[in-house]
């Protein structure tokens, strides 16, 4: 099957390649749809896409809250749980994709597989593509179980972003990358999402392994980056820097302060990260 798959990058892969042309890493920001409300999450994604004083994220990774988020740490988990309590639905991701595209960034979604399966794999791919979405990041779906998704992504011209980890064997890295379209998501540290005070050497090692095994792969590195300095470090070896918890944290703090609509701190973090990926070593 992998021989018949489209490999040319779609919009998100092209955005990473364009950043590379500019001599910098791309900035991928994650936010869950529906937290603190659907409307406010769309406003936050618009800000993330546009930036505040400078540029924003190149790609926005729209998370769909899920009841059993096996890969997420406490920050994203809490936002997701509260979003579900507030009534967020899978279909809200389509409005989010439209908002991100309108604000000038490339929308992708990160979703646990059961949500896609219950919506219908083909229907989800169709509706997400129609909303301007570029591709899906699937943390609990590896190519082994992805037959239906491979077909739907081809049919609707969507990118497939699978994950590789430090524990992946060489064979699995090669096979996973061959099933990707656009770029591959490297999970830098063993473990769940969440900011860390120092980025792990495992990230650089993993990126180096992928480059050696499958040259010319575009690699986004995720999990752990919390500020512009760390983003600048990761930008030295990865093609894209993925940031989630550090952004979501600002929303939780605003909600805790009783001002969920206040995006001031998020604007500051977005600017810091956007500057970080552009910093020259």
């Amino acid at each position: 099957m992998s021989n018949e798959l489209t490999r040319e990058p779609g919009a998100s892969g092209r955005a990473i390649a364009a950043a590379k042309q500019e001599g910098r890493a791309a900035f991928i920001g994650y936010l869950p749809v529906g937290y603190p409300s659907v409307d406010l999450s769309l406003a936050a994604m618009t800000l993330l896409s546009q930036g505040h004083r400078s540029a924003g994220a190149d790609i926005v990774e729209i998370g769909i809250p899920y009841s059993d988020p096996m890969m997420d740490g406490p920050v994203i988990q809490r936002a997701g749980t509260e979003a579900l309590r507030a009534g967020v639905r899978t279909r809200d991701v389509f409005a989010a994709a439209e908002a991100v595209a309108a604000a000038g960034a490339v929308p992708v979604t990160m979703t646990y597989w059961n949500l896609v399966e219950q919506y219908g794999v083909d229907a989800f791919a169709r509706d997400f593509a129609n909303a301007g979405g570029a591709g899906l990041i699937t943390p609990d779906l590896t190519p082994d179980e992805a037959e239906e998704w491979l077909a739907a992504s081809e049919k609707y011209d969507l990118e497939r972003i699978f994950l590789v980890a430090p524990s992946s064997t060489d064979e699995r890295i090669v096979s996973t990358v061959q099933h990707c379209r656009g770029w591959v998501y490297a999970t830098a540290v063993m473990g769940v999402t969440g900011t860390r005070s120092s980025t792990s050497a495992a990230g650089a090692d993993l990126v180096a392994r992928v480059r050696e095994l499958v040259p010319d792969t575009l690699i986004g590195l995720g999990l752990g980056v919390s500020d512009g300095d760390q983003a600048a470090t990761v930008a030295q070896y990865a093609d894209a820097v993925i940031v989630g918890s550090a952004l979501v944290k600002t929303l939780l703090a605003a909600a805790d302060a009783g001002t969920p609509e206040d995006l001031t701190e998020m604007a500051r973090v977005v600017d810091d990260l956007a500057e970080g990926v552009r910093r020259r070593p």
């Binding site: 009841s67 096996m70 597989w113 219950q118 590896t142 699978f162 769940v192």
Partner: protein
């Protein structure tokens, strides 16, 4: 037999099972699968496991004729497979000893586990103590409250018990948390899943380690009655005791396989844990199976008086046995289970775990139904008495409204 493949190389039972997990866990799952395959081919592993079963856990467990209880089950003769007499009080030790041996073979030194009722947690803590391994058990906060005795047992055995307060704060959330721990610690840690559920190879691995239940049952029934039983009956949450009781009978078409799920307060109330009867096909905890979910695929909270059955999914081989029609799954309410709990206690002097009481209630129903359908038949029904009821006394006190005070006073007058 074509109705029961399984699983294939990649862990599929028909359309069910598989491996829906983060890439980060694939290496560890493959390592486990390889270690188990190697162990199965190694007589030393079988010998070690056999020794532990016989000299540590107390196997083989007896098959007890429940004569007075049978009077309430039509023309059926009810036999009890006494897994409650295992060391630690349930069938969970069968699986735990086998996986602890594998852990040692893989060179790992730390065990983590999820637990609902606490039986699997206690069994894992026991094996960790026996093998000198570090142990952490994740348990939903709802369950640490209703099973406080088992929390204390685990702690006395040297395990660390972590109360999980995410989501519904029950078994499914404990499983999420254990999975998160494992992703971060996979180098030195084995995640000892207690149910025949989760990503491949766990459903196969746990079935093989629980198979001893049906292997012994088959021999015991043949020896005593000169024939196979007409039906074997077990409760089903994730389904480890049931798959252990079914395993050797799956290819015996004359033996009916019955799994009884927790209906809680009733399917129609939405407060139940009957994934097969009241759920739909989806993906949870690394497997495709029947689960309780809403229209979007968000997992719905399960409800059962029995912590061990309070799980919104079911092992993938059960999903397949249901789908293929080889086994029959029916729901049993809290009330039916507690009635059976009381009946067995009063007629046989055996206090079952509330989990097992669901199987007992199912056996009563099956016996009466068979008496209606075939009045001349005298069916032999084996119930897997998967655990003992000591841990459930507090729940029973509340349910039956007894308060532990004495029934009267008697003594010499002054």
């Amino acid at each position: 037999m074509t109705s029961t493949p399984g699983p294939d190389q990649t862990g599929h039972f028909g359309p069910f099972g598989g491996r829906f997990t983060p890439e980060a866990l694939h290496a560890a799952l493959n390592e486990l699968d390889a270690a188990f395959t190697a162990a199965q081919a190694d007589p030393a592993y079988a010998a070690e496991l056999h020794d532990l079963r016989v000299n540590y856990a107390g196997r083989p467990t007896p098959l007890t004729l429940a004569d007075r209880f049978s009077e309430h089950a039509g023309n059926a003769t009810i036999l009890l497979k006494r897994e409650d007499l295992n060391h630690t009080g349930s069938h969970k030790i069968n699986n735990v000893l086998g996986q602890a041996l594998l852990t040692r073979r893989m060179g790992k030194t730390r065990l983590i586990a999820e637990t609902g009722a606490g039986q699997h947690g206690v069994a894992t803590a026991t094996a960790a103590a026996l093998f000198g391994m570090e142990c952490r058990v994740y348990m939903g906060e709802v369950d640490t409250d209703r099973q406080a005795l088992n929390v204390a047992r685990m702690q006395l055995l040297g395990a660390e018990v972590i109360a999980v307060n995410a989501g519904s704060r029950t078994l499914k959330d404990a499983m999420n948390e254990a999975m998160r721990d494992w992703v971060a610690t996979v180098d030195n840690t084995h995640y000892l899943i207690g149910s025949a559920a989760g990503p491949h190879p766990f459903p196969k691995l746990v079935r093989e380690l629980q198979r001893v239940i049906s292997t012994e049952t088959r021999d015991q029934v043949l020896q005593r009655y000169g024939r196979l039983p007409d039906a074997v009956v077990a409760c089903v949450g994730g389904g480890s005791n049931a798959i252990g009781m079914f395993a050797d009978f799956i290819d015996e078409p004359s033996v009916g396989l019955y799994g009884f799920e927790a209906e809680g307060e009733g399917i129609e109330t939405g407060r139940h844990a009957a994934s097969v009867t009241g759920g739909a096909i989806g993906v949870l905890h690394g497997m495709r199976t029947y689960l309780l979910q809403n229209e979007d695929g968000q997992t719905q909270e399960s409800h059962s008086i029995s912590a061990g059955l309070d799980y919104p999914a079911v092992g993938p081989q059960h999903a397949w046995l249901h789908h293929s029609g080889r086994a029959t799954y029916e729901p049993v309410t809290d009330r039916e289970a507690m009635d059976a709990f009381k009946l067995l206690s009063r007629t046989e002097g055996i206090m079952p775990a509330i989990e097992s009481a669901h199987a007992l209630a199912g056996a009563l129903r099956l016996g009466r139904r068979l008496a209606d359908e075939q009045p001349d038949a005298e069916p032999l029904i084996v119930v897997n008495l998967s655990g003992r009821g000591d841990k459930d006394v507090r729940t029973a006190i509340e349910w039956f409204g007894i308060d532990g005070s004495v029934d009267g006073f008697q003594g010499a007058e002054e």
